[in-house]
């Protein structure tokens, strides 16, 4: 298990590096891609958290969508600012996950995977058919992130891509720190034990149902937070964005980077998956084929993800905890 101090140092270094990026990258287009990397890395982080507890959820995009729709509606109908709507939508998404998870988490494994697929499809249908959610066209003209005014000093506007980049960086780190606190505390050890051998964990006194439910709620709330950012960043959302295929991509981001690296793995995975296709744009038609081939090679030769290359050299390196 990584010691909490290593985690803190790692996170600090990572923050510094990521905060420097806008000094180098000037193109708004590339900034936009990096913002997408940040948001998708957040989603991939939620996948890894649930995976730790032995839950493979194909409903991540649905909860991402719930966060996006809730946040948009809170802003449009109740006139809440982003800074109110964002935490509220994460909490509401977590509450929805609690209600659904109570039932789903009882039988993890294959059944759970299928149930979350169904859940994901039901969510998309609900977004598309309930009048509240604006039908297939979705919701448009969602207010952008409200500026922060600090009286007599300055105010921060979230108009430029750079400002949005720092916002997603902030949110990413918020979730990363929150999740790391869980990992370092007893909870992380219990999740790991459940993921490795649920029956043995249970026989050592771990209430596997409660811990799995906690992972499902905390993971889904993180996805909801990412959804809130997405809604206000894009200004418009449509139901099909949040389908199961999106979740499969989220899984790929995490697996590519390495699920043993709960913070860095998602960044690397999302970075490569989002930027490689851009680099390969010369051959737009064959780009999915190349990306697909890369993935197959990776799963065959590096099942622990790209980052496992780094720890391989160290003797007895354990990319867990």
């Amino acid at each position: 298990m990584t010691s909490p101090y290593k985690r803190i140092i790692g996170l600090t270094v990572l923050t510094f590096i990521l905060a420097m990026v806008p000094l180098i990258v000037k193109s708004p287009y590339y900034m936009h891609l990096l913002i997408m990397v940040g948001m998708n890395a957040m989603l991939a982080m939620t996948f890894i958290l649930m995976l730790r507890a032995g839950l493979i959820s194909l409903g991540i995009a649905a909860f991402w969508g719930i966060g996006a729709y809730v946040s948009a509606l809170l802003a449009l109908r109740l006139d809440l600012s982003f800074w109110m709507a964002m935490p509220l939508s994460a909490i509401i998404t977590g509450a929805v996950a609690l209600c659904i998870g109570c039932v789903l988490v009882k039988n993890p494994g294959f059944g759970f995977i299928i149930e979350t697929v169904v859940l994901g499809e039901i969510a998309v249908l609900a977004f598309a058919h309930l009048p509240l959610f604006g039908g297939y066209k979705g919701i448009v003209s969602i207010p952008p992130v409200d500026p922060i005014h600090i009286p007599f000093l300055f105010s921060i506007e979230f108009v430029s891509k750079t400002a949005s980049y720092y916002l997603i960086l902030f949110l990413f780190l918020l979730v990363a720190i929150g999740y790391s606190a869980f990992y370092s505390a007893w909870t992380g050890r219990a999740w790991l034990a459940i993921g490795l051998n649920p029956r043995l964990a249970e026989s050592k006194g771990v209430n596997i149902y409660r811990y799995r439910l906690l992972a499902f709620v905390v993971g889904s709330a993180g996805a909801g937070l990412a959804g809130s950012f997405y809604a206000h960043y894009y200004g418009a959302i449509a139901p099909t964005t949040f389908n199961v295929f999106k979740t499969i991509y989220i899984h790929i981001f995490a697996i590519l980077g390495g699920v043993g690296f709960p913070v860095l793995g998602p960044i690397i995975g999302a970075f490569i998956m989002i930027l490689v296709p851009e680099v390969l744009r010369v051959a737009k038609e064959i780009e999915p084929i190349i990306t697909g081939l890369l993935l197959i090679l990776l799963v065959l030769f590096l099942p622990q993800g790209l980052l496992s290359l780094l720890s391989r050299r160290k003797k007895n390196a354990r990319p867990v905890g």
């Binding site: 869980f182 505390a185 909870t187 249970e202 026989s203 771990v206």
Partner: protein
């Protein structure tokens, strides 16, 4: 301490455990023997909450624990080591033992999340205690080794360490020396004795009659899910029924 009344478990048409009565007194070591498939492991799983009995009752310290969940049974003070060495393969030896402290945290949840001094202090105390268990069982040198890299004998010992971490009153050992060399077996017998001296009550399933004979005060024989007989090691050894059902096939 433990009382089992007419415990029965059906798997489809198969009756794995059939109306078994059993009582275990405090500080005893009881041997549970019987041919393969006699229902010994199933009986353990009915007691520790992994399986729900078809009928019958289990009492632990006077409390009806029939059908309790495994983690609740663990909280009450029953733990086991498994027939197959069941470990968290990718965790270190120390972390494997550490899992057993799960239910003894006293500090509030948020304090543990924020790693306040009191939470850290408690964690250090548990770590120290886990190390003491490893030292007691002779595994302290391997504490940072990954569990899957341990020899078979050490893995079995680690399984017992993990059980001890939950501070059980009743310890169920399912074939603790299976697959061990004679010297490893000697070590394990010594360890089980030492554990009993600490005041634990032990039920041990074993095919190796040497182990049973040298450890147990009392032996219960199962055959085809039924209790065939029960008595002191000598009584059991002399019984024709038992020799026919079991000892005839096993190497003594």
């Amino acid at each position: 301490m433990l009382k089992v009344n007419k415990l029965t478990k059906h798997f489809g048409g198969l009756v794995a455990v059939n109306e078994v009565d059993l009582h275990i007194d405090s500080s005893e070591i009881v041997g549970l023997i019987g041919p393969n498939g006699a229902g010994k492991s199933t009986l353990f799983n009915l007691i520790n909450g992994f399986l729900k009995p078809t009928s019958g009752e289990v009492f632990f310290e006077g409390m009806d624990i029939t059908g309790f969940k495994a983690h609740d049974v663990s909280h009450l003070g029953i733990d086991q080591s498994f027939q197959a060495s069941t470990l968290f393969q990718r965790l270190s030896v120390l972390d494997n033992v550490f899992i057993g402290y799960h239910m003894r945290y006293k500090t509030k949840y948020w304090k543990r999340l924020l790693r306040t001094p009191s939470a850290l202090k408690e964690e250090r105390a548990f770590r120290k205690d886990a190390l003491e268990i490893l030292t007691f069982m002779g595994l302290q040198k391997l504490r940072d080794e990954q569990a899957e890299n341990l020899s078979h004998g050490h893995q079995k010992i680690l399984g017992v360490c993990m059980a001890l971490a939950t501070k059980p009153k009743l310890l169920l050992l399912d074939e603790p020396v299976a697959g061990m060399s004679p010297t490893e077996t000697e070590t394990m017998i010594e360890l089980i004795r030492k554990i009993q001296e600490k005041g634990l009550t032990i039920v041990v399933v074993e095919h190796d009659m040497k182990v049973i004979m040298s450890l147990c005060d009392r032996i219960v024989v199962l055959n085809y899910g039924r209790k065939l007989m029960e008595g002191s090691p000598n009584e059991v050894l002399k019984s024709d029924e038992v020799i026919e059902a079991y000892l005839g096939k096993a190497e003594i």
